[in-house]
Assembly symmetry: C2
Homo-oligomer: 641 residues x 2
């Protein structure tokens, strides 16, 4: 799952409840644009690329109609399922005949590839027949199953068609018979089945799926024998989930796991789970988070590194980790109602996540480093150039399903309230069970402008509370209702609550002061010591050569964090529409370090250099032109202090 409505009767511990699928509708602005590109370009591009990569053929090989051999990685099927989940959401957002036909074609293939017993996995059927469940640590069968289940639920919710859901149910029941009854000891190597089972429990009401999820989570950290080359910490099998204190191992797996734990808490209210999650979240937020919201600092094992090890250039920051972190933080927000989780979702959405897809929507980043040099010696997956597809193509369809469901992260409901977590141009329609219907319309140029107008189009006569997040980045905010300044309001858990009798036609204006600011990092973070990053509202900025006048080496500049000469400019035609930021900078003569690694301070203190105007663009929009130097963190000048 992500983003599906919880059944209130089954979720007594959730403070907030997700709105039904279609009740938040994008109508313009940043995410509307991204969604349109996702629907019109990215999803269709993905279908074509998966055909080329062999994903369809792999399924056909299972029922004897494919050609050649299995191609791609052993979890190739999951790409198809994630794509189907994405299309399912899109078909609700804005029906598209072509996408619907593509989905039906694909579901036909999946139906044919499913075994009589319900099992389906093209790699294990074609390449390793007879060896089901023999490599639970790395075989990804349960991972693929999880994505099939999520796709089945999404497709059913969206289209009412039960075909894909029934395929998923048959597989889920087969898995349940294999594991829950036979007692096969298993910590699934890549968590995902856990989230899917909880969602299936929510969707069907059948307790067995909840039990199976708990069974998988309970297995972790209890198997003393690990015969494979990886350490169990790689896939979080080193410690029982309830004892975890830190974020460890493979970042995507860790975050899918904490998402699954949070889902189990949402259904059971078991406090030891929430205690572990809060410890782990604090560890992540205070030791492992890049300013872009990215996590996973290490190439080795695609993993969380040690505390404060947050390198700019060598960081991994896999797009899937950012997506998984949105999933987890969404669940933590539902549990606690605390704005820090919504703050982090926003930071990731606008920076480390959306950087994963090109402005045109047909190229991707697997890794999202914070620096790229022309001379960077990167991995294959990070050349400083976006790729049309990847052999390991987990990220692209994961991006697609996240964008196509992005509207589901914006608002929640309670019995007598609507909570706005993310700002944007959308309408919200909701019927309170006891009070009646409310319709709100939100208009804003956010994230480029901090003012949001909310119009009440329909409302019950009785009092109810409109709440909205006071973002962590915001230091000054003012509210007017129908032009009258609101002086007294309640703020709790980072949310401003306005509880009153609303009237049709009411207009709430929230003006969040959004100046450019210069950010510095904790002194323990080696990689950014002495540097600042440019940020405005939720947007982290970066610099690229294409935007500069003159020919300065961006690897050898510094900026003045106290500059008063800051210009913020909207460019309709640049990079899909962005606000750029210009500020004062100094370029060191590049020869000053020729052939040297170290020199006395006295020699460089009064280094000659050119003062110039540096132009920054939003981080997410980097690498949409030719390959070039990019930086987020820039040394602060000592000269102009």
């Amino acid at each position: 799952m992500h983003m599906t409505p919880l059944d209130t009767s089954e979720s007594p511990h959730a403070k907030l409840l997700t709105l039904p699928l279609v009740s938040t509708v994008l109508e313009g602005g940043f995410w509307f644009e991204k969604s349109s590109i996702n629907r019109n370009v990215t999803l269709k591009h993905g279908y074509k690329e998966m055909a080329i990569a062999g994903n369809f053929n792999n399924l056909q090989l299972v029922f004897g109609q494919g050609s050649g051999q299995f191609r791609g990685l052993l979890f190739a099927d999951s790409d198809l399922y994630k794509w189907l989940e994405a299309v399912s959401y899109e078909l609700t957002n804005c029906y598209d005949l072509e996408l619907n036909e593509m989905a039906d074609t694909l579901i036909d293939l999946i139906e044919k590839a499913q075994g009589n017993d319900g099992y389906i996995n093209s790699y294990w059927e074609v390449v390793e027949p007879g060896k089901r469940w023999t490599d639970l640590a790395h075989g990804h069968e349960l991972y693929c199953a999880g994505h099939l289940i999520q796709a089945g639920i999404a497709h059913h919710r969206s289209t009412k068609d039960t075909r894909l859901l029934n395929i998923a149910l048959r597989f889920a029941d087969y898995i349940n018979s294999e594991f829950n009854h036979s007692g096969l000891a298993a910590s699934p190597g890549h968590p995902e089945i856990e989230l899917a089972l909880i969602e299936l429990y929510r969707h069907t009401g059948k307790q067995k799926y909840l039990n199976l999820c708990r069974y998988f989570l309970d297995q972790r950290g209890t198997n003393s024998h690990h015969s494979d080359q990886f350490m169990p910490i790689y896939y979080q099998d080193h410690i029982p989930v309830r004892n975890a204190r830190t974020m460890a191992g493979h970042a995507v797996r860790q975050l899918y796991l904490t998402s699954g734990m949070a889902d189990l808490y949402l259904e059971t209210g078991e406090k030891t789970l929430l205690d572990a999650l809060e410890r782990q979240w604090n560890d992540m937020a205070t030791h492992h988070l890049f300013i872009t919201g990215g996590v996973g600092s290490q190439h080795e094992g695609e993993s969380f590194g040690t505390s404060y090890d947050l390198p700019n250039e060598k960081c991994y920051c896999e797009t899937c980790a950012q997506i998984a972190n949105i999933m987890w933080n969404w669940r933590m927000l539902l549990i606690t109602g605390e704005s820090k989780y919504a703050d982090l979702i926003e930071l990731i959405m606008f920076n480390g996540f959306i950087s994963g897809v090109s402005v045109k929507g047909d190229k991707f980043f697997y890794e999202n480093p914070l620096q790229n040099r022309k001379t960077s010696e990167g991995s294959e997956r990070r050349s400083g150039e976006r790729q049309h597809w990847y052999r390991c193509a987990c990220c692209p369809p994961n991006i697609m399903r996240t964008i196509s469901s992005i509207n589901q992260y914006f608002a929640t409901m309670t019995e007598r309230g609507i909570q706005i977590h993310q700002f944007g141009e959308y309408s919200i329609k909701h019927s309170f069970e006891t009070l009646g219907q409310v319709i709100l319309k939100s208009q804003t140029e956010y994230p480029w402008n901090g003012t949001v107008l909310i119009n009440v189009l329909e409302t019950p006569a009785e009092e109810w509370a409109l709440s909205f997040r006071n973002p962590g980045w915001c230091v000054k905010l003012s509210i007017t209702i129908n032009g009258q300044r609101l002086n007294g309001f309640t703020e709790r858990d980072g949310y401003i609550h306005i509880d009153r009798s609303w009237e049709k036609g009411d207009e709430i204006s929230v003006a969040m002061h959004m100046p450019t600011s210069f950010i510095q990092g904790h002194p323990n973070i080696e990689a950014i010591r002495g540097c600042v990053a440019i940020k405005r509202g939720p947007m982290v900025y970066c610099i690229e050569e294409s935007d500069q006048i003159g020919n300065h080496d961006l690897a050898q500049i510094c900026i003045d964090p106290f500059s008063k000469q800051i210009e913020e400019t909207w460019h309709e035609d640049l990079l899909g529409g962005v606000v750029t930021i210009e500020t004062d900078a100094l370029a060191e003569e590049s020869c000053a370090w020729e052939g040297l690694l170290y020199k006395p301070v006295s020699d460089v203190q009064h280094a000659k250099g050119d003062l110039f105007r540096l132009k920054a663009i939003p981080y997410y929009s980097w690498a949409n032109r030719h390959p070039q130097t990019m930086r987020v963190w820039i040394p602060r000048s000592n000269l102009t202090n």
Copy 2:
């Protein structure tokens, strides 16, 4: 080898020639102290530890007298050989009956363990009998053989006893028959045999050893099949040696390899070898060198990382890599006569190398990081605490043989000159073939004081040139001869040359200005951006908590690189005798970052903090008290600018 006299007739390409073994005799000061501790403590401690670790027993198992099983790593024998090489030098420096007896006992064991065909390796004989040469990439048989040969030569030179040399010769001849004739294709996984064979060629004059060395070097990068888990770059088998452009893979192996290449050049003058070496040296000096002279930034593969990736805390900087780098730079110095190589040797000697042994001489560091935090999540080999021994004990006996031969790096000769590369308290005795005998006595408190007095105790009547290095760190230097200021002198390749008719009783005084300086790094080095390091002469400084008054968190301080309040103080009783440096610093309130990773500059610009006096100690002397925070690079203050 290292440090052995070249036969001039065989080495037409060397610009400088090493002095015979006993012609530079330490008489006091820094290295005299270290040598005494090495002889009286470290070598004896090492013998005891090797006995405990099973190294002797491993040899006994070969001839049926050991107990239990083979213990330790498969190259355990090489520890014994390196220890024997060290003792051999010591027996020349200062005869010690106990060490001599220990060596004889050990040579007895080695003699018995040698097979009739000359082969000797306890791991392969005991654990994998019948499998000789089946894992040349990782088996370390040729590596161990190389150390045996070096020990044999050193022992023969020192004692005139031929026993160990004959063992080595039998093994060398067996290897020659196996490889050179049968044509076993082999790139030895860990270079070392190459250096040993060249030295054996020098020692015996037999061309076959030179040829075998060349054979091994020529093999590299020509084997297209690599079936093992490691990439060939790990052991420098990815490219022919003459085509190499960069330092790559496992740092110790790379540096033993470049040492072997330099040795081959010294004997053959083949320019393509020198071209490759100079390219690689420049790559190392401009991209991979820590300020301590350390190299090998990566734990993974104990390897050179990417350019400018020089982390303080996560760096590896294995002690053996520093030793290998001294070996290589010594050869480059002999080839070119350029001071930059002697500068680097000095930097490594006083910092990244000698940090590998405790002040008392009985504990070691395998890794030499530039930062240690109480909360550091280090590897087993780096706990912030020195160890008495290591399971992988390559470093301790390598340190021993380097200290016991340290005097051999100080000076060289040419036909009509003596060149002083390293400063210290020692005498030099040399007979020019045509001119006659010269005896010089050098007195100094170096590295704590930059003044060196050189007295001419004996000299031929004819002119000859005294040359000495003008260190790269030195910006102001003055020379007097017999109290008269010398105004005109020649400087070439970083050496000052005084060519004149010397008289007995002449006194040359070289006064090198040695102020404390603050160093900063290339802007591409993320880990130290915005930081400075304290350096004085060749010594890099660090800070530890034990030396501070007050209770400031050293992880959260900054220093003023323009402080005029610098105090340099000699402490006879501190850490074996060191000069400490005190300067101004500011401690940020530690709560200022509680729970935060990032915050706007404006919030921290006027952070409250305590001004205090910070005391620094030489880097090499860290971790000789209780485990604690240590730092080399310290953020520079923006407050007191």
